[in-house]
Every structure is written in C-alpha cells, then in structure tokens.
C-alpha cells in the first residue's frame, strides 16, 4: 500500500515521486517487472563490503518511460517519469502496482 506520495524536485525533463509504503520493499516487487523483454531490473548488493547495506535496485522499461529506484528493506521507492503524453498512464500503472504491495 502507498502510505504517502510526495512529488520531489527533479532538475531534468521528468517528474519524480517518492512513494512511502506501508511495508518495507521486498523482492515481491520484482515479480511485476519479470518480463525481461519489457523491463530491465538491475540490483547491486554490497553486503560483502558493507554488512549493514541494503540491496539497491533500479527498474526501467525498455522504452525508458519511467525509472524506479529503491532498496530492499527501505520503506519507500522513488519513481521518475518522463514528461509527455504517456506520463499519466505510466504513473497510474506504477501507482497501481505499488498500491497492491502488502
């Protein structure tokens, strides 16, 4: 569930939102972006160097219309949308996915 959606400043030609969630993000989020032809999911795990570190991830569709940044265990993600005609639809879709998370 989305607890709060805050529009945050972005200096590029994009709109960025920080979504605070009811629960910390887990790998269940990735299931919504499992289609490798449509999405690129990249993770970076530095626990071998920083034991307290969380696994960072970024999710981007092949068309580049949005970008999700976050880390497993954090209670928020940021989603950056490209401005333009498809932005409203991309935002609605991503917010629906986040709203369905536990």
């Amino acid at each position: 569930m989305i607890k709060a959606a805050e529009k945050v400043y972005d200096c590029l030609h994009r709109e960025r939102y920080r979504y605070t969630l009811d629960s910390p993000v887990d790998t269940g989020l990735f299931a919504h972006y499992a289609d490798a032809d449509a999405f690129q999911v990249a993770v970076y795990d530095a626990k071998h160097l920083l034991p307290q570190a969380r696994v960072i991830f970024r999710i981007e569709p092949r068309d580049g219309s949005f970008l999700i940044n976050g880390a497993l265990g954090l209670d928020y993600v940021t989603v950056t949308y490209l401005r333009g005609a498809p932005m409203a639809a991309a935002r609605a879709t991503q917010e629906a996915i986040l709203a369905r998370l536990p």
Binding site: C11, L12, G70
Partner: protein, 426 residues
C-alpha cells in the same frame, strides 16, 4: 565494446586510469556551469581552448586504447562505445572516412544538459564532443591531431532536433597544447583521521564497484542528474588554460577571477552531485545505516567522493563550525603539474568549493531531511553571506606534500575576511 569495469580502480591513489587518462565523475550541472563560466569571459577566445582540451585527451586516450586494433570499423566501434559508456550520448561514426565527414546525433550530454540547466542556447554548446570527435578521427586513422578540423554546426541546445559535427582535414582549428609530462604522484602519510563509526574504505570500495547505468540515449541518469565519467585533464586544461589567458590579459587579477569562478563551480558540483547522492535511495541503502551524527555524514560523503577518481581525501577534522580535508594527489594538482610544472598559487579550486559546499549541505542545509535541490535553495544556501567558506592551506601543485582545504563560517575567520579564493602554500 567498452566497459569501464574492465579497468581496475586504484584504491591506493583513488584514481581510475583508462588509456593513460585519469577519469573522474562529474554531473551536467558542473560540466555546463564550468563551461559557461569560461565562455562568459568574452574577451577570451575560449572555443579553441574548449575544443582543443577535449581533442587532446581523446586523442591521447584513443591512440592508447586502439593501439592493438587495426581494423577501422572495430576502432570506430570502440570509440562509439567509450563515448556511450562515459555518459556522453550516442554517436555513429559509420560515415567517417580518413578525410572526415559528418556525425549526427540526437543525444549528447552537453547539448541536453545545457538545455536542461540553462534553457535554449543561441549557439552550439557541445565543445567537448567537437574536440572528442577531432581526437577520435585522428586516432582512428593515425593522423596528426594538428591536421584535423572539427566544428559543430547544429546543436540540440538551440532547439533543433539533432547535433551535427563536421570533421575534416587541414590545420587544426583548435588549440594544440604542449605535450604533458608524465604524472607524478606523491606518497601518502599515515595521517590520523578522527574516529567514526563510518567504514570509509568499505564505502569507497562499494561505490567504486557500483555500476553506472547508461540509458538508451547514452546518458547516465542517476541521483536526479546526468553523470559523466570524463578525463580529469579535460577539466584541468580548460580551467588552467583559461586562467593563464586571463592572467595574460589582466595580470594577477586573472588568478582571482579564475579562482572565484572555479570555486563557485565547485559549490555547484557539491550541491548537485553530492547533494543528489545524499538524498538518494542509494545513499540510504549503502551509507545511512552507519550514520549517527552530522560529522558521520561528512565522513560518509567524502568516502563516496574517494570513489570518484578525485584522489585520496582524508577528513582531518570536522565539527559544526569547520572542517579540514587533506587530499593526496588531487586530480587538479596532478594535472596542473603535468601541464605547467609547479604552480605559484593554489589551484585546487574544485575541492575548495567542494568542501565548503558539503559543509553547507550538512550543517546549514539539513541535507538529511532531503530538501529539494533547487536553484532557489542553492542561492539561499550559498549566497547569503553566512555560508561556509573554504581556503587552500596547502596545495600539492605548489610543491606541498598534499592539498589541504579548511572550511569555516565567516564569523569564525579572524577579522571576518573573506576566505575563498586562491590560497597560499602552508
């Protein structure tokens, strides 16, 4: 293809050397601000400097990288891949011949970044790509750099749909600089840094290994900005060649003018890049779990800074009223000495502005609350006269064993005089 991950980061000197060229990370705010600062001095003919500096480093680097590749299409592919991996955008060199040719692209960092930061330009702004392509043409075909010409005839920043670069043969239409000397790195002392719960070395290693994603446009959009991994000596050359021309035109005042401009560029770098990092999920995931105090934040961000190729920064002291950062082999000093020998004044401008900028973000800007990094916030934080100011108390380019920057609030400075500007050796 090309992947920076194939080149080892030197964790002793905190440098990444690729094809003989040290590479550093900077964002589009810094890149275009620095360029515009140089261009704004209209009585200096800056275009040949800006193009020539890029041509110099690209030619040197590509000559090295392409030495074992004889095939021309393979050479072109390497250049295109390096350009993209650097976050510079997309180029297609397919139409290029030994005589030159046109390069057209819908995505370049400088053109897009300029428009994002400053709005439309009246004239083309991508001097870096112009010089890079000149150096590439020469390196791909084994030509003397002095026999290559390059100009940009169309630019995305002006509102058109593509950048056009025209390459040809003939006497270079940009500055050909004197050969640089081999870099000399100073040994590091075992300086005692204050105790902190922040594992600085681990942060540096983790960040240096973190992939920088390049998008479909060949841009690295991270931390809310466009990042590049460019040649340290590009920044050094444009800065110090400009400073020398200013000094030739106006005398010693030229140093003061250049110092003010380049330290301000350091503020812009700190505010946007370091501020963007400290408000990112990446920071929250990697570093935040170790941070308890504002001083920890300072240690954390300089540990991150050490992964950017800038040299080895050691935080000697930090408190709410000031900080001292010692840097061994800061890229500005190393580059200056390669180009011009020993300096007679402090030249580590980026890090001077950077230290003050980070202090402002942490102690005056409450960066832990994730403020919006707007122009208005920048002006409020840096231009009200109450901001931290920094000075060089030592500079490696002058022969000191390291560069050292001290930042403090204006009221802390003896006599209340303005601190920033070209420093003197300790």
């Amino acid at each position: 293809m090309f992947d920076f991950a194939e080149f080892d980061y030197d964790f002793v000197a905190n440098r990444l050397v690729v094809g003989g060229e040290p590479m550093v990370l900077h964002c589009h705010h810094y890149n275009v601000f620095l360029q515009r600062s140089i261009q704004d001095a209209e009585y200096i003919d800056s275009a040949p400097i800006l193009v020539g500096a890029a041509a110099e480093v690209a030619f040197a680097q590509l000559t090295d990288l392409l030495a074992r590749t004889a095939d021309i299409p393979a050479r072109k592919a390497t250049v295109e891949a390096l350009y993209r991996a650097s976050g510079l955008g997309l180029i297609d060199l397919g139409a290029l011949t030994e005589r030159g040719g046109d390069v057209r692209t819908r995505s370049t960092h400088y053109s897009i970044g300029w428009k994002e930061k400053f709005g439309r330009s009246r004239t083309p702004v991508d001097f870096f790509s112009t010089g890079f392509l000149a150096g590439a043409l020469a390196a791909i075909y084994g030509l003397p750099l002095a026999d290559v010409q390059a100009r940009q005839t169309a630019c995305l920043s002006t509102g058109v749909t593509e950048d056009v670069f025209v390459l040809g043969r003939g006497p270079a239409n940009f500055t050909i600089f004197a050969q640089r000397q081999n870099p000399v790195l100073n040994p590091m002392a075992d300086d005692a840094e204050p105790a902190t719960s922040v594992d600085r070395k681990a942060i540096t290693r983790a960040v240096a290994a973190m992939p920088l994603p390049v998008n479909a446009e060949g841009l690295i959009a991270v931390f809310g900005l466009y990042l590049t991994r460019l040649h340290a000596d590009y920044y050094n050359r444009i800065s110090y060649a400009f400073e020398r021309e200013m000094t030739a035109a106006t005398g010693r005042q030229g140093v003061e003018v250049a110092a003010d401009l380049f330290i301000e560029a350091g503020h812009v770098c700190a505010f946007n890049t370091m501020g963007g990092i400290m408000t990112s999920p990446d920071w929250d995931a990697l570093v935040l779990p170790m941070l308890k105090t504002p001083e920890d934040w300072f240690h954390g961000i300089f540990a991150w800074w050490n992964a950017c190729g800038y040299g080895v920064a050691k935080v000697m002291d930090v408190s709410p009223t000031g900080a001292t950062v010692r840097i061994y082999n800061d890229y500005e000093s190393v580059g200056y000495r390669r180009m011009y020998g020993a300096a007679d004044h402090g030249i580590s401008y980026l890090v001077t502005g950077g230290v003050a900028g980070v202090m402002n973000l942490i102690y005056l800007g409450d960066i832990h609350t994730k403020p919006a990094l707007t122009t208005e916030f920048y002006d409020r934080l840096f231009k009200r006269g109450q901001a931290f100011q920094a000075r060089m108390t030592a500079c490696q380019a002058m022969g000191d064993p390291y560069t050292e920057i001290h930042a403090e609030l204006p009221e802390m400075a003896e006599g209340g005089h303005r601190l920033e500007g070209a420093g003197v050796s300790a």
